[in-house]
Subunit: 297 residues, 2 copies
């Protein structure tokens, strides 16, 4: 099934919440991290295994109420090889539980290099004498449009071949997003990105009317969100910036069409580390229940 259709099916079943697995080391439940450091010493393996255990508890607890997760690659790469093993293990665990997995790597490059990323994460890798299915096997990848169309096409082509999805950074959620994204000539860069993505993704529109190539649009710019929703009806939006970045929750209504489709909303640490609001809970025990409560709310 087309990625956009799978995503929309998931939104209809579970709602638009996209939980981010961003394992900030300082927020990991203490009872897990301390146990790992005690068992394995002060090692990368201890840190990475604490991440895996935290993710597994979250994925087990959330899977009856959440259908999609976003994995922020930076936190795994930061932990070296043990971190990449934690990424692999988290992806496999989430896949076995049926989650839709969006890998947030904001990758970007051109021609054969862009293809290498796309094949590695979404489709298959060929070599003289054989071919392997993608090692990482996720459902969608975030990418960065600074290099223009030929920086996007290799990703989109590979996604198209395998019914996977792509989210292209368009209007990001951060304070200095306008520096580049609002340069106008006369059209603003982010609008140009949206038009480029609409055009390149038009072959990948599913039965839901949405393309499997969507946009990342921050909740922190409500007017832009509204403008993009009105003007690009076939594009799904991945919306960061709610929660830690204080994006306006009310304005999120502008991200959706009247049928409730059109966007998925990413919340990361405000869900997975919700236990930290209870200052009496220093050990972090029961963090996964708090995450579930927050995800349902």
């Amino acid at each position: 099934m087309n990625f956009a259709d799978r995503l929309n099916y998931c939104v209809q079943k579970f709602g638009p919440l996209l939980v981010g697995l961003d394992p900030h080391l300082e927020y990991l439940p203490k009872f897990i991290l301390e146990q790992e450091l005690k068992e394995k010493g002060k090692t990368w393996e201890a840190l990475a295994h604490a991440v895996v255990l935290t993710n597994q508890k979250l994925l087990d607890e959330l899977h009856s109420v959440v259908g999609m997760i976003k994995i922020q690659m930076a936190f795994y790469e930061m932990l070296g090889i043990p971190g990449m093993l934690a990424l692999q293990s988290t992806i496999e665990y989430a896949r076995n539980l049926g989650y839709i997995i969006i890998l947030d790597g904001k990758r970007n490059d051109i021609s054969s290099t862009a293809l290498a990323y796309a094949r590695g994460y979404l489709s298959s890798v060929s070599f003289p004498g054989g071919q392997f299915e993608s090692f990482w096997k996720v459902d969608a990848l975030t990418i960065n449009p600074y290099l223009g169309e030929d920086g996007l096409i290799p990703f989109i082509d590979e996604a198209n071949k395998t019914d996977k999805g792509i989210f292209v950074l368009c209007r990001t959620s951060n304070k200095s997003a306008p520096t580049i994204q609002d340069v106008s000539g006369p059209e603003k860069v982010y609008v140009k990105v949206a038009k480029m993505v609409e055009f390149l993704g038009k072959e990948m529109i599913g039965e839901s009317g949405f393309s499997s190539v969507g946009l990342v649009v921050g909740a922190t710019y409500p007017d832009d969100l509204k403008y993009l929703r009105s003007n690009f009806p076939s594009l799904l939006f991945l919306i960061p910036g709610v929660g830690a970045q204080k994006g306006d929750v009310k304005s999120l209504a502008n991200a959706f069409q009247s049928n409730g489709l059109g966007a998925i909303v990413n919340v990361s640490r405000d869900v997975i580390f919700a236990y930290r609001e209870d200052l009496n809970n220093v050990s972090g025990e029961g963090f996964e229940k708090k995450a579930r409560d927050r995800a349902v709310y």
Copy 2:
């Protein structure tokens, strides 16, 4: 020593060639790949180990004539965990031989996520109860400016703390680079990027007069290269697009100041896989000598 100064010292000793280790699987010397596939079967490990052996031979052969390498992450990530082990092993091998290592990952994100990348590749990783030196420990990282200043500052800050370097994508070498990079409001996006980088990197200017925060500027846009060289005297340029992308070699003169400093020139497959020009060499034996000949030429 400041990264820019180390780089310029290296340019004075070896010239501006930055050899790219982009292990396209289809170009790997056949005698290495076939041996690995025979020994280890059709496995990711066989592919990754063929990459490691190819890189080691190249690094051994080139190190008397080349001082800097650029590692394209996509080709390693594509091979999963064995690929990341190949990346680790290649970095260590190159470091032991004294190469300056630039990791071409074009990473980009904001706040704590950008910090996670910067710490993981350049500086150090803290956790409750300890701190580790960066797992990957490279000298410089390429990054993408689409998110504006606050997408750059975390990278630049970490590089500044540890005398490492950053190259920010500015004018890329590919055909559709202008789509985003030439939007003018009234200033073109890529010029705005250059000004932003000049400002953010001004604390990191070394004795050579260059900042450790430089730009990626494609050889395929000679007029833009000339314009940037004239207007941004403190910025070092990493120049892709020579060789496979047919960038104009003569126009490269515009990238340098009269003292021969100011740019490093990346060539990847045209050096490391130069043996492929000899159609009679089907096994790939002696590929490293051909690479050395090309690097010297």
